[in-house]
């Protein structure tokens, strides 16, 4: 028995072990830009997309003559294996061993929390593409900037205001908030609840589940028992899909359904639910390939040229925008030596990116608004805010699953 116990302890310890890699020498005059991304492990898919975004930026910036003073960019990307300890080791190595001159952020609040602390200790600018948890910006960091439109607690603002503004006979009266215990999903759901509660939409269910929850039938059954008109599911992909499938199984169709993250994953989402079942599902998203934002067309074309496919992952676009933000600061300041000056410039200026214009408060929180997407006729569309970024003017008022599989 003791042997088995020891072995299991060893196995548990080994699960946490990851390894970094990458690096390489640079030519004289090139600027080394370092990042560690989750290329393996739980976040490997968004991590790989973020790497593609950085690679597209490297290609475009070098084609345009380099980052500053004609100096071209050499990306040094390590794999943090979706592990918090490894990401810290990686950023330390990027700074001390690989001698990178600039840093770019990693994916997820979970990994950006420790990684941004390394950058802050070394007084290096740290613009990151996917760490929107409010916790990120409560530490008084001076070099940290989030390159999306808003932090997680404001991700659902546009959607909440849309619901709030509906005529009384169409507005949901009750809402349920089944939410994943996650630094991004939970504040998003809480932010929506705060606005809707103030608008008189009663909360009839709020419960949190953990990432290893596999069976959603009981949760869906409890949501059904609450009779909520609107269901807001703070989720990542697997649990988000599991929850909607459970709603379908028990035959419960709330008037409106909003989810974080999962519906923005395009074809993957439609395949997991069956296209017909996605009709009318709302979500927030940072990027649209069809948006007429500066440089977006060039980014989309270059992405497709380099990596093929028909879809451009949101995480690739976020990473590209992250590098755009850093590039704008370097260009404006005219060099990379004074990183505090770069951070000061970002705090006081607006940057045009493929996600739209971004600006930040003192703590590095973005001050914009997310786009609201909705699945319509088996395809994701941008519906709000109305204007240049919207891909359609029509909004499907309710969730209408057709019940069809793929």
């Amino acid at each position: 028995m003791r042997f088995r116990l020891l072995a299991l302890v060893a196995v548990s310890a080994l699960i946490g072990v990851g390894c970094g890699g990458g690096g390489g020498s640079s030519d004289k005059g090139t600027i080394k830009v370092g990042a560690s991304l989750p290329l393996t492990g739980d976040f490997s898919e968004p991590g790989k997309a973020a790497k593609q975004g950085y690679q597209v930026w490297q290609a475009i910036v070098n084609e345009q003559g380099g980052l500053v003073d004609g100096r071209k960019v050499q990306m040094v990307i390590k794999d943090d294996a979706s592990n918090q300890n490894t990401v810290v080791a990686d950023y330390n190595a990027l700074i001390s061993k690989d001698k990178v001159q600039m840093l770019l952020g990693t994916f997820s609040s979970l990994l950006n929390l420790p990684a941004s602390a390394v950058a802050e200790r070394n007084r290096m600018l740290y613009v990151e593409p996917a760490g929107g948890s409010p916790e990120m910006f409560s530490r008084g960091f001076k070099y940290l900037f989030f390159a999306q439109q808003a932090t997680a607690d404001h991700q659902g603002d546009v959607f909440s205001n849309y619901v709030k503004g509906l005529p009384p006979d169409q507005r949901p009266k009750t809402a349920a908030y089944p939410t994943l215990d996650d630094p991004f999903a939970q504040p998003t759901s809480q932010g929506i609840e705060k606005i809707l509660k103030a608008a008189g939409i009663k909360t009839v269910y709020r419960k949190t589940y953990t990432i290893d929850q596999k069976n959603f039938d009981s949760i869906a059954n409890s949501v059904k028992a609450s009779g909520a008109d609107l269901v807001v599911n703070g989720a990542t992909f697997e649990d988000g899909v599991g929850f909607v499938r459970a709603l379908l199984k028990i035959g419960y169709t709330p008037k409106m359904l909003y989810q974080t993250t999962a519906p923005s994953l395009g074809d993957q989402y439609a395949k997991a639910l069956g296209k017909g079942n996605t009709e009318g599902i709302f979500y927030a998203v940072s990027h649209s390939a069809k948006a007429k934002t500066p440089g977006n067309e060039q980014f989309v074309a270059k992405y497709k040229q380099m990596f093929g496919g028909t879809e451009v992952p949101e995480d690739a676009a976020d990473a590209y925008a992250t590098a755009q933000v850093m590039q704008a600061a370097v260009k404006a300041v005219g060099g990379i030596d004074d990183q505090a000056k770069l951070a000061d410039w970002l705090r006081n200026n607006k940057v045009d990116t493929i996600l739209g214009p971004l600006e930040w408060d003192e703590a590095g929180r973005p001050q914009g608004q997310f786009l609201v997407g909705q699945w319509q006729n088996g395809a994701p569309e941008i519906i709000l805010p109305k204007g240049a970024t919207a891909t359609t003017q029509s909004i499907v008022p309710e969730w209408k699953p057709s019940g069809a599989g793929t």
């Binding site: 088995r4 492990g41 739980d42 069976n215 009981s218 949760i219 499938r245 199984k249 997991a272 079942n277």
Partner: protein, 293 residues
Amino acid sequence: MTEFVQTLILGLLVGGVYALLASGLTLIFGVMNVINIAHGAFLILAAFITYSIWRAIGLDPLAGILITTPVMFVFGWVVYNLTLRRIRTGPAAATVLLTFGLALVVEGLMGIIWGNTAHAVTAPYFNESFHIGSLFLPKAQVYGGVLALVVLAVLWIVLTQSWLGRAIRAAAVNPQGAALVGVNVSAVSAATFAVGVASAGAGGSIASVLYTFLPGSHYVWISRLLGIIVLGGMGSLPGALIGALTLGIAETMTVTYISPSWATAVPYALVFVVLLVRPYGILGTRLREDVVT
């Protein structure tokens, strides 16, 4: 009252599926004294095979079992002969580490072949339920539960009624004695391991309809399945069924009456309590080594 009955039904159905997934794990431990940490990875591999067949020719995952089971049987036999056979008589810790290594290799290969994105099979009945009054029974879970009973019954009949079963039990109780009376212990071990992995084939097919899965999903499954067989008594097939049903009901009751955030903690607390009272699990057998240590 309806809510309680509904929760109980959901718990039993979840437990039924868990029993199917855990049956091979407990069989391999019971006969070979090997804790197969790769069982979760084999399960996910079968789910991916089911997915590919379904995408390619539209074959229903339930029918896909007829393919995944023999494929995983052969895979299990090959894996045993290439790896486990060499350290069969080594310490238990060595087999744990070896099978953990196997799990990592299989995870990596699945990542290369299918990518690290979540997959799911949307068979025609994936979102359908049987309705009895105001109660509902999700069809895929019902099929999984029935399949679990069939697999467990077949395994039990094979173990108790056939020559192979007697050979397996003989090899488990006394390998030297079994060899003396003409049992090829090595071949029996390979067959047992292959049968255990084949049951993961059946389980993986049904799991592909019930759950989304990606290569890394096996960590969650192996921890849950180990909990089940420890609760039921390691090596006991009826114990796996009882452990799975107990864990399934504990999970759904916790979700409904306490909070979903406790859904993974409470069942393990239950395992803890049961082990305090019965250190060898509900139907486990007390071994001489347990008494000594």
